[in-house]
Each structure stands twice: as structure tokens, then as C-alpha cells.
């Protein structure tokens, strides 16, 4: 090889390295609250066509957030895996981790394309509304990790634990994630295969085509069956952020990136640590210990990359229901004839009213189900301890 030929090759390598570092820096900046617009945190995870395609199908809704995946999607058709080699922040981190063990085997592990199975399973499950492994998207794991750095204490770090696990995997078995597991990488492979199938029919031997078709049908069928089973089993058991899709599909659509929890100025959203079943693990649930969901705030609804939480306009907020308040008359001090109207005063929607029965002379709190959004203002205001007499429950 001559120097003249090596020079452009080296320049290309340097340019590629600089580009990947820039991509990592930009993705980090977008997730961290450095920029004035908090919604930028949505961009990295939303750029994944895996997340976009599956969530659009599962949520049956197309928003502007899904369009953010268009560049990578188009790129995947033109140059397969270009994104992985030139822009993926997780890919860069895995490569850096790989340098720590130069002795490890550099070639691709001999394993089936699990990533493609994951992607196809998820796609099949998305058809029935429950994209099984959407949360395995590397950009979602990345968002969860970087975002967790903003509040490194408490259970919030659990949301950021996915990326370290992937990096540890990279240290043990280099190349395993990118080549065999990553559903985003596999999505690009599948798109490339689709392109060959449609535009260059002769390029792929018919045996490969048949294998791919068989795999697709089998994986998507399995995904659909599993997804349908999970959708049917899901029950409304948790208080979700405002604008969340129905509980049956929420745990599937949520990619556990933690954006909504970090966007909440009242800090009422917390990762579920198993209170509402395995499917709900690490999804956001609302707790009204000290603050409630403020009437004019829609912050969390504009940072969801997968459409698990749909955007809510401020003027719609009063009609977006998170749950409904319920009163325990045994605990309510108003029902014991004491002068208390804390929940009545606190309700921003006028949904909580004291009622007096002129026959029994007993007072009680009545909740107007048509206006109670489950914002938790009453629960926060309630004076009874240790248990609140009024609490928000799922509708």
C-alpha cells in the first residue's frame, strides 16, 4: 500500500472518529437539560426507526416525534448499518470498552441473529398494541443512562442501569451486542433485506429469502400472540402520567427512558419498582407525597419518544384523566363533623365538594367523576396521618 493511498484512508478514519464523538456529545447534550428547550431530550431515542415504527404501529398514532426517525430510516435503506458505524453513541461507547480488553476475540460471536428475532417479535407484538422489547432500543438505554446522571440518587438510577449492563456485556463478549443483539441494528439489517427483496430480486438466493420470510412470519406471529396475551392480562393498576395511553398498552410502549420523570417539575413521577407487576417494571407511576400534577403543566407529555405519553395541550389538561380521587369516610375528619375542607380548597377543578345529608346530619366529600382528573392536589392537601383520607386511585 502506498502512502498516497494510506493518507485519505487515515483522514477518513479521523473524520469518522470525530464525527462519532460529535454524535455522542450532541446526544448527551440533548438529553441533559443544558439546552433551554426541555423537549430536546426526546430526540435521541426518537431518532431510532425501531422505536418509531413499532410505537407508531402499536399506538396507532403518528406524531411529529415519530418523524424524527425518518433520517435514520432513509439512511438504513441507502447505506445499511451506516448509522451504527458513524453515529450510534452506544456503538462508540462499546468500541471504547472493547479497547480495555485488546486480547478479547474481535470477530463476531457464532450466534443466531437474536436482534432480528427481537425486532420481529416486537413488530408482531406492536400489531396487537404491545411492542414487547421496545425498551431494548440502545438509544432508549442511552437516554435513560445520561438522564439518570441528572439525579443520581434514589431509585431513578434504576432507569439508567440498562446501558451499563450492555457495556459490561461488551467487555465480556465484544461485538455481541452490536452484531447479534441490538434490535436497532437488526432493524437496519431487516430493512436492507427488505430492500433487496423488493428492488433487487435476483441478488439474494431464494433459500435466504425463504429463511427470512419464515423467520419473519414465525417471530411476528409469536410476538403477536405474546403481545395479545399481555394486553389482555394488563389491568389498570397504576396512576400514569397525564396523556398516557391506556394501561393495557402503556407498559409495552414505554421504553423506560426516564424522560417524563425528569421533565416533571413537581417530581411526582417515579419508576415503578415492581408494585404493579413485572410488565410495569421501571415505567413511570405518579405518587402524590408532597406535590401534585399542576393544572397548567404538560411537560412530561412532550418528551416521550415512543408515544406512550401523548402530547397534551395546556388547554386540554383539565380533560386528561390520570385517575380519580376516592375518600375513606372512616378517616375523613369532615365526616367526623370537624371543620376541614383542605381537599375542597385544593382541588383546581372544583371536583371535590362537601355534602351534607339533612336527614342523617352526616357530612361527606363527594367527587365529581366528570371533572376529577386525579391530579392529586386533594391527596397532597389532606391532613390525616399516617394514611390520607382522600387518595387518587386508577379510574
Amino acid at each position: 500500500m502506498t502512502d498516497a493511498a494510506a493518507q485519505p484512508k487515515r483522514t477518513g478514519r479521523v473524520l469518522r472518529a470525530v464525527g462519532r464523538c460529535c454524535a455522542l456529545a450532541i446526544a448527551t447534550l440533548l438529553v441533559l437539560p443544558v439546552l433551554p428547550a426541555p423537549w430536546t431530550a426526546v430526540v435521541p431515542a426518537a431518532a431510532s426507526p425501531y422505536v418509531a415504527v413499532c410505537s407508531v404501529i402499536a399506538a396507532r398514532a403518528l406524531g411529529w416525534v415519530a418523524l424524527l426517525a425518518l433520517p435514520v430510516l432513509v439512511l438504513a435503506f441507502l447505506r445499511p448499518r451506516w448509522f451504527c458505524r458513524h453515529a450510534c453513541p452506544v456503538g462508540l461507547l462499546l468500541e471504547v470498552v472493547g479497547w480495555l480488553r485488546p486480547s478479547a476475540r474481535r470477530h463476531t460471536p457464532r450466534l443466531p441473529a437474536i436482534g432480528q428475532w427481537l425486532a420481529l417479535l416486537t413488530l408482531g407484538a406492536a400489531l396487537v398494541g404491545y411492542p414487547l422489547f421496545l425498551w431494548l432500543d440502545p438509544l432508549a438505554l442511552f437516554t435513560g443512562f445520561v438522564g439518570a446522571a441528572r439525579e443520581p440518587f434514589g431509585v431513578a438510577w434504576l432507569v439508567g442501569a440498562g446501558l451499563p449492563v450492555v457495556l459490561l456485556l461488551g467487555l465480556l463478549v465484544p461485538n455481541l451486542w452490536c452484531a447479534r443483539l441490538c434490535p436497532l441494528g437488526a432493524t437496519q439489517d431487516l430493512l436492507a433485506a427488505l430492500k433487496r427483496l423488493v428492488w433487487r430480486r435476483d441478488a439474494a438466493p431464494s433459500a435466504t429469502r425463504r429463511a427470512l420470510a419464515r423467520r419473519s412470519v414465525l417471530a411476528m406471529g409469536m410476538g403477536a400472540v405474546c403481545g395479545a396475551g399481555l394486553v389482555r392480562r394488563a389491568r389498570a393498576a397504576a396512576i400514569r402520567p397525564p396523556g398516557a395511553v391506556d394501561e393495557a398498552r402503556f407498559t409495552g410502549l414505554c421504553i423506560r427512558c426516564g424522560n417524563c420523570m425528569r421533565a416533571c417539575p413537581s417530581e411526582i413521577l417515579h419508576p415503578d419498582v415492581g408494585d404493579h407487576g413485572v410488565a410495569s417494571f421501571l415505567t413511570p407511576v405518579a405518587r402524590f407525597d408532597h406535590k401534585h400534577c399542576v393544572a397548567d403543566c404538560t411537560a412530561c407529555t412532550h418528551v416521550c419518544p415512543s408515544g406512550a405519553i401523548r402530547p397534551v395541550a395546556p388547554e386540554q389538561k383539565a380533560t386528561v384523566f390520570m385517575g380519580i380521587a376516592r375518600v375513606d369516610a372512616e378517616l375523613c375528619v369532615l365526616s367526623q363533623d370537624m371543620d376541614c375542607a383542605a381537599c375542597v380548597q385544593a382541588c383546581p377543578y372544583g371536583a371535590v365538594e362537601p355534602k351534607f345529608d339533612e336527614d342523617t346530619y352526616v357530612s361527606s366529600i363527594a367527587i365529581d367523576a366528570s371533572t376529577c382528573t386525579g391530579c392529586g392536589a386533594c391527596e397532597v392537601a389532606c391532613y390525616t396521618t399516617p394514611k390520607k383520607a382522600i387518595v387518587v386511585t386508577p379510574r
Binding site: 363533623d337 371543620d339 383542605a342 375542597v344 380548597q345 385544593a346 362537601p354 396521618t385
Partner: protein
């Protein structure tokens, strides 16, 4: 028993029954002499020949125009002798003003005594450092300190708790304090109208056994609870229906047979403890009613008395509670909210939750729950009517949105707004400027000197 019936009395009787309606007997325009004659000799047969009653003119009952006797001229007239009114009268007097306090019942204390609302809620709040502090200080706290010195005057008077007082001890303490301060007091006198000069209140008219008389004042403090005087003077206000109940006390609860009562759930309607052992006070929410409608008030009084009797009977039927009995019902119906002033400022619930700071803050209110953060300031503008001068509001009828009024109506904010209104009125009278133009920093300084807590 002999009774002298004058011709005028006879006419009056007939007139009232409408017999002479439309006969053209018109005395509506005739001026009359003041009613309250100088002291009459006992036992002498008299005729109030100088009195001119209402008459029926063209089917309408007409009151004659008449000149009223001016019973008193004062610097500050305080209408209403509840927690706000008494605090206002004491504050104004201590700030150097000549003060007249007018109360419709025969005792002071308002709903705190006559209404048997014995508990004082919301005196404390957690500060920014998480430490509990007392936010209701000044004259209100002084009253409770004095109650602490009399026999069975107060219980639970400690940081973080809600003190409960004895109504009789409180009536006594208030009389002592008002007398010591040198406040002139008129009891059994119901202020029924304002005296105005254009858009400025100049005093008030009151009715009593001595008849209808006038009081002229430099500043009037409306601590009537219902905003009777500012409304009569032409100030703007909101009128609300609100929960209206009646409190009662149960006795002999120390004689409950514990052995018999064991295991069973205590009956409803036992209420909360009072300084007297074995006696509880029992609150009542009551239905929404118009506290300015005498029909509503009468209906509730009657219904509530029946309900209270039934409630105590139920208590007595519970095993072990046979000796409990209804000690008394409150002489005064528990009207919570009626008129709310449209003031220069209007306190909102949002303000109270956000802890909004006001440059003209004259006092602080606290949350009801013990573990709650959130003291809230009350601006002076909430006491000042937007559209009339010469009158300040104090107590539950000051300017605030309805849900805030539910917090403002309780006793500690009434102390605080009363105290501030008293000082401001005295400053206004002394400086010769209308209440809305008083030097607020001066008022704040005097309030602090008198022990009030502003922030």
C-alpha cells in the same frame, strides 16, 4: 296590670294590621325626637308621645324621617365583639385612639364563645428551616396567655397543638382586657346601618332597647362577620351561601361506664375535649344556607336543635354512655361565610399555597395540619374596601376568594386582621388620613411593637 294605651299606639296597632291602609294618614315626612330619653323615674306612667312609629301609606309600610340621637362620638368605632372586633378595639385603644366597641349579644367573643367554636386551629406553621413556629401572636396570643392563668380556661395551649378554650372563662377574660384597656363598650346593641357622607363612612346606626341611635366615628371597623356595615356604606362585596351548623356541648362523658363500653366502637357525635373534664364540644357542618336570610337562619336553628337532641339520644343509647347528657346548644348559630369584601387586594388560595410575599403584609396565617409547611401573609389591602372610605373590614368578611375565605374565617386570622385593622384605624384617625392612605410601614411597626408576627 294596667297599661296606658295612647292614641298613637292604637293607630299603630291598627295600621300594622292594615285596617287604615290607604286612608292617607301620612306622617312619613315628620321629623321626630330621639327616642332615648334621659333616665326615667321608676314607676312613673309615661307615654312615648314623642315617638313616631312606621305607618302604612298607600299600602306600603313607611318609616318617618327622623333625626337620631348621637349616642357617642369616637375615633374608632368597632362593630362586632368577636375575636376580630375585640382584638381591633384593644389594638386601636393601645395605639392611642378613643374606641367604642358595639356588640349585639350580651357578651364578647362572638362565635368563639356564643357559637361554642372553642378550638383554635392554624396558629402554627413550619418555617423554611422545617422548624415549627407560632404565626398567630400579638393580642390573640395574649388572650390565650390570660386564659392559661384562669381556672379551666384553656387546654392544649402549646406549640403544634390546637388550643381549646372554655367559653365562660373567655367571656370573663375579654371583659377584663377590654375594661383594662379603657375601651367603651355597648352590649345588646345591633349595628344596622352605616352613616355615610358621599363615599365615606362616618359612623353607624345601632338598635337597642334604647332605640335607634347614631355613633359618629373617624374610622369604622366592620368586624360584624357579615360585612353589615361596609355593605350598608355602599362597598362592593360577594354574597355566598355556605355551610351553617350549630355547636353543642355534652356533659358527663367522664362518667362513661368503660366496662360496658369496652369492645364497642364509640358512638358518633362525641366531639372534642374542652378544658372542663367530662365535657366535650361537638361541631356540626350543617347544610349550605344564606346567613343573611332570617328564614334560613330560623329553619336551621329549629332543625339543628332537633338533630342535636337525636344525636345525644343516640350517644346515650350506646352501652356505657347512658349518663351523658346535652349540656347546652350554642346561643349563636354557626354562620361561617356570608359577605366577602371586594377589597383593594384579594387574597387567593394560590397566594397562600405559593407563600406570596406582600409588601403591605399585616399578619400571617398558618395551615390547619400540624405537619404542613406554608405560612401565608395577609396584605393590608384585604381589609380596605375598594369603593368606600372610612371603613376597614376585619375578621371573616375581609377580601379573599371563597376557598381562601374558608381559611380566613377561622379564629387565628380573625385575631390577626382585627389587630391590624385596630392599629390602622387608630393611625388613620390620628394622622387624619383615610384608611386606604395610611402609612403602612408605620402600621407594621406598631403591630410589631404590639407583638404581632408579620413574616
Amino acid at each position: 296590670m294596667s297599661r296606658h294605651v295612647s292614641r298613637r299606639d292604637m293607630l299603630n296597632l291598627l295600621g300594622a294590621s292594615g285596617v287604615i291602609a290607604g286612608l292617607g294618614v301620612s306622617r312619613a315626612a315628620r321629623a321626630d325626637d330621639p327616642v332615648a330619653a334621659p333616665r326615667t323615674a321608676t314607676g312613673k306612667v309615661v307615654s312615648s308621645s314623642m315617638h313616631s312609629p312606621a305607618s302604612v301609606v298607600d299600602g306600603k309600610v313607611v318609616q318617618p324621617q327622623r333625626t337620631l340621637r348621637v349616642a357617642a362620638e369616637t375615633d374608632v368605632l368597632v362593630v362586632g365583639g368577636g375575636p376580630a372586633g375585640v382584638a381591633a378595639a384593644l389594638a386601636a385603644r393601645r395605639t392611642g385612639a378613643k374606641v367604642l366597641l358595639v356588640e349585639r349579644y350580651g357578651h364578647l367573643g362572638g362565635l368563639w364563645t356564643g357559637g361554642l367554636v372553642l378550638i383554635v386551629i392554624g396558629m402554627h406553621a413550619k418555617g423554611p428551616d422545617g422548624k415549627l413556629i407560632q404565626v398567630t401572636r400579638g393580642i390573640g396570643e395574649e388572650m390565650m396567655q390570660r386564659l392559661g392563668k384562669v381556672h379551666r380556661g384553656i387546654v392544649n395551649h402549646r406549640l403544634g397543638a390546637s388550643p381549646t378554650v372554655d367559653a365562660e372563662a373567655l367571656k370573663y377574660v375579654m371583659v377584663e382586657m377590654v375594661a383594662e384597656a379603657g375601651v367603651d363598650v355597648l352590649l345588646h346593641s345591633w349595628c344596622v346601618d352605616a352613616i355615610v357622607d358621599g363615599k365615606t363612612a362616618k359612623g353607624a346606626i345601632f338598635e337597642s332597647k334604647s332605640g335607634r341611635q347614631a355613633i359618629l366615628a373617624k374610622v369604622v371597623i366592620d368586624a360584624s362577620g357579615d360585612g353589615d356595615i361596609y355593605a350598608a356604606a355602599g362597598a362592593e362585596f360577594e354574597h355566598h351561601r355556605f355551610r351553617t351548623g350549630l355547636v353543642h356541648r355534652i356533659g358527663n362523658l367522664d362518667k362513661v361506664d368503660r366496662a360496658k363500653a369496652k369492645g364497642a366502637k364509640p358512638p358518633r357525635g362525641l366531639g372534642g375535649l374542652t378544658p372542663i373534664q367530662g365535657v366535650n364540644w361537638v361541631n356540626m357542618q350543617g347544610p349550605e344556607a344564606d346567613g343573611l336570610d332570617v328564614r334560613d337562619l330560623s329553619r336551621l336553628e329549629m332543625n339543628h336543635r332537633r338533630a342535636i337532641w337525636r344525636s345525644v339520644e343516640r350517644v346515650r343509647q350506646s352501652p356505657g354512655y347512658e349518663r351523658a347528657y346535652l349540656l347546652e346548644t350554642a346561643p349563636q348559630l354557626g354562620v361561617r361565610i356570608t359577605r366577602l369584601l371586594t377589597g383593594v387586594s384579594r387574597l387567593t388560595y394560590k397566594d397562600s399555597q405559593a407563600g406570596t410575599k406582600f409588601p403591605d403584609a399585616i399578619g400571617v396565617g398558618g395551615p390547619w395540619g400540624r405537619d404542613k409547611v406554608g405560612a401565608w401573609q395577609i396584605p393590608y389591602g384585604c381589609l380596605v374596601p375598594r369603593s368606600v372610605d372610612g371603613v376597614l373590614a376585619a375578621g371573616r368578611c375581609i377580601s379573599g376568594e371563597l376557598r381562601m375565605a374558608d381559611l380566613l374565617r377561622i379564629i387565628p386570622p380573625c385575631f390577626v386582621t382585627g389587630h391590624a385593622a385596630g392599629v390602622a384605624a387608630a393611625v388613620s384617625a390620628k394622622d387624619g388620613c383615610p384608611p386606604r392612605a395610611v402609612e403602612v410601614p408605620k402600621v407594621q411597626r406598631i403591630l410589631k411593637e404590639q407583638g404581632a408576627y408579620l413574616a
